[in-house]
């Protein structure tokens, strides 16, 4: 009688232990899955608006009148897309420092992302979006974003 009761208790404990282990494993996997998006806010810059003529929030180093720029950081990724498409438009999205500016063209209906590495630059830079060529008359809304880790999303 006692041994049967003991074995029942043992079974219950095993079940409880299995449940706890499974719960711990699930929590660990969930933490791994969500960590990068949570960390993405560590070093994050985003901007939405029209170019040219928008005052730059943090100060650009190259084309003050037609750029928008982030502050200085060790950016790993910059992303830009054209929002409300009024006409054919052309932007340059990328990075800049005092000596160098690099980017990729972003046209109407496109979303493009790049890294300092792809631009042959150091990470420590300003993320920028530039109306290009800078005498374009048409203006379209552009969404820009840069992160030090993780993904940009609008």
């Amino acid at each position: 009688m006692t041994s049967r009761a003991d074995s029942r208790v043992g079974e219950s404990m095993k079940r409880a232990l299995s449940f706890l282990l499974a719960l711990a494993a699930a929590t660990f996997v969930f933490a791994l899955e969500t960590a990068p998006s949570a960390l993405a806010d560590f070093g994050h810059w985003s901007w939405q608006g029209m170019l040219p003529g928008t005052p730059s929030q943090f100060g650009c180093l190259w084309y003050y009148e037609t750029e928008t720029c982030s502050g200085w950081n060790n950016w790993t990724f910059s992303d830009a897309k054209v929002g409300t498409v009024v006409s054919d438009s052309d932007y340059l999205a990328g990075f800049e420092n005092y000596n160098t500016i690099r980017g990729v063209h972003v046209y109407s209906g496109e979303e493009k992302g790049t890294t300092p590495e792809a631009m042959y630059m150091n990470r420590y830079s300003k993320a920028m979006t530039l109306k290009y060529p800078y005498n374009y008359a048409a203006a379209n809304e552009v969404f820009s974003c840069a992160v030090t880790l993780g993904a940009c999303y609008f």
Binding site: D90, V104, Y107, E110, K112, G113, T114, A118, A151, C152
Partner: protein
């Protein structure tokens, strides 16, 4: 008589099986070719990418294909969970794990010949922006991609192979715009 009947039955059965196999193979080919983008006939090799870059929110990469490796870069076609077809590049030496640039377009390759990821920039004291490297993806109609100067003269040109192009021009180039060329050598669309 009996033998002839048996032979006929065997022949008809074998023929039927053959027809079924051929039909199945044909169907399989149709299904697999449907996975390629229209206008991008090169399908490449399926790969598993270990990156979640640029797939914020609920968007993720469903499938990736390695189209080519050129100039130390790997070129990928991506299918995202939101149904959007995108393209990306990464360092070829990174064993297909990381992406360092990507592009998604509603117009490519149907109405736009290039999905360009060329590096544009300048280094002081020069402040005029130039094409430093030609990098990108091209529709089947594009035979080569060039860099042109302000006067429209071709400064450099590289062939499109497996729907991709890559040519490093360096910082001292006078190339200003990117231009697609067809089989005949004629420009396709305006320079960008």
């Amino acid at each position: 008589m009996y033998r002839r009947r048996v032979a006929t039955v065997v022949a008809v059965t074998a023929a039927s099986i053959g027809v079924v196999i051929v039909a199945a193979l044909a169907a399989g080919r149709v299904v697999s070719s449907a996975s390629a983008s229209p206008g991008i006939s090169w399908r490449g090799t399926p790969v598993k990418l270990g990156t979640r870059m640029f797939t914020g929110g609920n968007v993720r990469i469903v499938q990736a294909w390695l189209l080519a490796k050129r100039g130390g870069l790997a070129f990928y076609r991506l299918e995202r969970s939101d149904g959007r077809n995108c393209f990306a590049t990464g360092k070829a030496a990174d064993f297909l794990r990381r992406i360092n640039a990507f592009a998604c377009s509603d117009r490519f390759p149907e109405t736009q010949p290039l999905l360009d990821l060329s590096v544009i920039g300048a280094d002081r004291p020069e402040t005029s922006l130039r094409v430093i490297a030609l990098i990108g993806f091209a529709a089947d109609s594009v035979a080569s991609v060039g860099a042109v100067d302000d006067a429209g003269q071709i400064v450099a040109r590289t062939p499109v192979v497996h729907n991709v192009y890559m040519l490093h021009l360096g910082e001292d180039t006078r190339a200003k715009r990117v231009q697609a060329f067809g089989d005949s050598g004629a420009p396709l669309g305006a320079p960008r």
